[in-house]
C-alpha cells in the first residue's frame, strides 16, 4: 500500500487546479448508492474523483496521463488506472522508452503487484525489446528471491525471446545463496526442460548436481522434489539408478533420518514393488518400517498420511509373504 501522501505539503488538490476546472469530479458512491464519504485521505479521494471523471468522459489528454501517475502512486494495484494509462499511451503516441523507465521505478516500489508487471510486459511486447528484462527481474529477485511475479515475468521474457544462454548460471548462483529456494529449483527445471533437454547426459549431470546439494543440507524439500522431477526423465525410474539408490542408503547408514530421505526411500520401495524388482533393501517390509518410523517419530504431523501409506504397503507385504510361502511349497 503506498503512502497516502498527506505529508506532501507542496501538493495542490485537483479541485484547486485551474486547468482542471472544466471537469466535474465523480465520487465513488455516486450512482446507485448514496453514501456520505468523509475522507480519511483527502488527497486520495480528490485524485480518484478526478480519475473517475476522465475515465467516464474517456478523455485522451496529457493531463489525464499525468493524473494516472498520481493515481498509480496512491494505489498501484488499481487495474483500471493501468488499463486507462495504456489506452492513453497508444492514443497520444507517448515515448514508450520513458514509460519503460517509469514502470521500472513503480516495480521497484511495488514488486508484488500483478498490474505493474503486466504493464511492463505489454510495453516490452510493444517495443519488442527484452534487453532489460533479465536485469530488472534479477534486481527484484535479489530483494525477494521468491517473488512469484518477478519469476513469471522472467520466464515469459526468456521463453518469448529465447534468453536461455546464461540462465543456468543465474539459477546456480541463487541455489548457492539459498539451497532451499524452491523458486530457483523450479527455474532450473524450466531451463533444462525448455532449453537443454533431458538427454541421458543431462539427466546424470542434474542428478549429481542435486545429490551434491542434498549432501550439503539433507532436510531440503526442494532439492528432493527436484531429484524426483529429474528422475521422471530417467528410464530406470527412482529405483533403478544405482548412483541415487546407493547415495540414499549411504545417508541412511550414516544415521540421516530426514523425512525427505525416508520418503524417498519409500518411493524407491514402491517402484521396486510395482516393477516386481524388489531386493533385500527395497521391498514392502522396508517400506512398512519406514512409514512407521515417519508416523511415529520423524514426521508425526503427517502421521495420518504415513499410516495410510503403511496400510497400502502392508497389503503388498502380505502378497510378498504369500508368494514366498508359495515358492517354498513349490520347492
Amino acid at each position: 500500500m503506498s503512502d497516502s501522501g498527506d505529508s506532501d505539503v507542496a501538493w495542490t488538490y485537483y479541485k484547486d487546479r485551474p486547468e482542471w476546472n472544466d471537469v466535474t469530479p465523480v465520487p465513488e458512491d455516486e450512482g446507485p448508492n448514496q453514501v456520505v464519504v468523509i475522507a480519511h485521505s483527502e488527497k486520495f479521494v480528490d485524485v480518484y474523483d478526478y480519475f473517475r471523471a476522465v475515465l467516464q468522459n474517456n478523455e485522451r489528454s496529457e493531463r489525464a496521463l499525468h493524473l494516472t501517475k498520481d493515481a498509480v502512486e496512491l494505489n498501484p494495484a488499481n487495474y483500471t488506472v493501468w488499463q486507462y494509462r495504456r489506452d492513453l499511451l497508444k492514443a497520444l503516441g507517448t515515448d514508450l522508452r520513458s514509460e519503460l523507465d517509469y514502470v521500472e521505478l513503480v516495480i521497484k516500489n511495488s514488486p508484488k503487484n500483478y498490474q505493474v508487471w503486466h504493464h511492463r510486459r505489454v510495453l516490452v511486447e510493444w517495443l519488442q525489446d527484452p534487453t532489460q528484462e533479465l536485469e530488472l527481474t534479477r534486481d527484484a529477485l535479489l530483494q525477494d528471491p521468491k517473488n512469484y511475479h518477478a519469476w513469471q515475468h522472467r520466464q515469459w521474457a526468456i521463453k518469448a525471446f529465447g534468453l536461455y544462454d546464461r540462465e543456468l548460471e543465474f539459477v546456480d548462483n541463487l541455489i548457492t545463496e539459498d539451497v532451499r529456494n524452491n523458486s530457483a529449483w523450479n527455474q532450473r527445471y524450466f531451463v533444462i526442460n525448455n532449453h537443454h533437454g533431458w538427454s541421458d547426459l543431462n539427466v546424470q549431470r542434474e542428478i549429481c548436481y542435486t545429490l551434491e546439494k542434498i549432501k550439503f543440507i539433507k532436510n531440503n524439500e526442494s532439492a528432493w522434489n527436484y531429484l524426483r522431477g529429474v528422475l521422471l526423465h530417467d528410464k530406470r525410474g527412482v529405483s533403478g539408478n544405482a548412483v541415487v539408490t546407493s547415495f540414499c542408503e549411504e545417508l541412511y547408514k550414516n544415521k540421516c533420518r530426514s523425512p525427505y530421505l525416508l520418503a524417498f526411500l519409500i518411493d524407491i520401495c514402491d517402484e521396486a514393488i510395482k516393477k516386481e524388482e524388489t531386493s533385500c533393501l527395497h521391498n514392502a517390509n522396508r517400506a512398512v518400517e519406514l512409514c512407521q518410523a515417519l508416523a511415529g517419530k520423524y514426521d508425526k504431523i503427517r502421521s495420518k498420511y504415513w499410516n495410510y501409506m503403511c496400510e497400502k504397503f502392508k497389503k503388498f507385504q502380505q502378497d510378498e509373504n504369500n508368494k514366498d510361502t508359495a515358492d517354498k511349497i513349490d520347492e
Binding site: 497516502s4 526442460n193 522434489n225
Partner: protein, 335 residues
C-alpha cells in the same frame, strides 16, 4: 543436520474458541465504514470484497446483516453494457475476477435476474484463447486463476457449453509441474493457491482422475508447519488463506484427513482478532474480510463447529447454494 523451518509461534494468550459474534459484527461494520481510508483503497476490488463478506456471513447464518438490495443494485451498475463483463466498482473496467465475484453473490441471493446473463456468457466466451487458456481482461494476461474463474462462473450459470471445456482442461494440465502441483502458467512454480484453482477447475469439469493424486496430496500435506498453519510454497511462512486453498484441494481429493486437523484448527483460531473480530493472515496481524472468509471456510471444512454451515470445497460458497443450483462438482472417492 539443519532442521530450521520458517514458522510462527502461537502465544499462550491466543484465542482458542470461535468468536462468531465478533466476526459477524466486524463484517457488518466493515461495509458501513465508508469514510475509512482502507475502504477507499480497496475500491478496485470492491466486488470481491462483497463476495468475501457475504459468503462469510452466509456461512455464519448472518447474511441478513448485509444490505442486500443495495448490493444487488450495485452489481447491476457494474455490468458493462457493451461487452457484458462486470467490474470491481463503477466505472472501472470489467475483469473476469469481479465477474465471478458478482455471479457468486447473485447466485447466493438467487437474483441472477439483476444482470444480463447472456452478456456475461458472451464476455467469458470471448476471453478464451486458442490454447484453451483465458485472458483476465482485454489486456491479455493469462493465468490458471482466470481459467477457474471462467469455468466456475459459467457452471454457476449452467452455461459451461459456451466454451471449449476440453481445451480449458488441457491448458490446466499443461501447468502441472514435476512435483504434482500447479502454477499460474506452464513452467511456473507450484503454489497452493493456484493448485486450488486448477483442482477446482478439474472438479467442475469432472476430470480429477487425471491428477497424480497421491503426489499432489502429499505436496499439499507438506505445507503444514509445526505451528499447525499451512504455507503456500516450501520455505514460506504460514498464512491463514492457505488453510482454505490447501484444505479445499485436499477435500476435493478426499484426503483432508492427511493433515493434522486439530493443530490446523488451533492455528486458524489463533488468527482471530479478539478485540475487533475478523481473522488475519497470521496471529497478531490486522484482520480483513478476505482472511475472515477463508478462516471461517477452513473451519467449516474441518467440520467441528455447529456455528458454521458446510461450505462447498470447489466453489467456496455455502453447500446449500450449490445444492439449490443442483451442481455436483467432482470429489474423489475416499481412500
Amino acid at each position: 543436520m539443519d532442521f530450521a523451518t520458517k514458522d510462527v509461534n502461537l502465544k499462550p494468550d491466543r484465542p482458542t474458541t470461535l468468536l462468531i459474534e465478533k466476526h459477524s459484527d466486524y463484517l457488518a461494520k466493515y461495509g458501513t465504514n465508508k469514510d475509512d481510508y482502507e475502504y477507499c483503497m480497496t475500491e478496485y476490488l470492491r466486488m470481491s470484497g462483497i463476495y468475501w463478506s457475504l459468503t462469510a456471513m452466509e456461512l455464519m447464518g448472518q447474511s441478513h446483516r448485509m444490505p442486500k438490495e443495495e448490493i444487488i443494485s450495485f452489481i447491476s451498475s457494474c455490468q458493462n453494457k457493451e461487452n457484458g463483463g462486470i467490474s470491481a466498482s463503477f466505472p472501472h473496467d470489467p475483469h473476469i475476477l469481479y465477474t465471478l465475484s458478482a455471479v457468486q453473490v447473485l447466485t447466493m441471493y438467487d437474483r441472477l435476474d439483476a444482470i444480463d446473463v447472456d452478456g456475461v456468457v458472451e464476455y467469458i466466451k470471448g476471453l478464451q484463447q486458442e490454447d484453451g487458456s483465458f485472458f483476465g481482461d482485454k489486456w491479455g494476461e493469462t493465468d490458471t486463476r482466470f481459467t477457474f474463474c471462467a469455468v466456475m462462473c459459467l457452471s454457476l450459470l449452467h452455461r459451461l457449453d459456451a466454451i471449449n471445456v476440453d481445451k480449458a482442461v488441457q491448458f490446466v494440465l499443461s501447468c502441472m509441474n514435476f512435483d504434482g502441483g500447479f502454477g499460474s502458467k506452464p513452467g511456473s512454480e507450484s503454489h497452493a493457491g493456484l493448485i486450488y484453482c486448477c483442482v477446482g477447475t478439474l472438479s467442475i469439469c469432472k476430470k480429477l482422475d487425471v491428477l497424480k493424486v497421491d503426489d499432489l496430496a502429499w505436496w499439499l500435506c507438506e505445507r503444514q508447519l509445526p505451528s499447525g498453519g499451512l504455507n503456500g510454497r516450501p520455505e514460506k511462512l504460514p498464512d491463514l488463506c492457505y488453510s482454505w486453498w490447501v484444505m479445499s484441494s485436499l477435500t476435493m481429493l478426499n484426503r483432508i484427513h492427511w493433515v493434522d486437523n486439530a493443530k490446523l484448527e488451533e492455528f486458524i483460531l489463533a488468527c482471530q482478532d479478539a478485540e475487533t473480530g475478523g481473522f488475519s493472515d497470521r496471529p497478531g496481524d490486522i484482520p480483513d474480510p478476505f482472511h475472515t472468509l477463508f478462516g471461517l471456510a477452513g473451519l467449516s471444512l474441518l467440520g467441528n463447529s455447529d456455528l458454521i454451515k458446510p461450505v462447498n470445497p470447489t466453489y467456496c460458497m455455502p453447500q446449500e447454494t450449490i445444492n439449490r443450483l443442483k451442481l455436483e462438482p467432482q470429489i474423489l472417492k475416499k481412500v
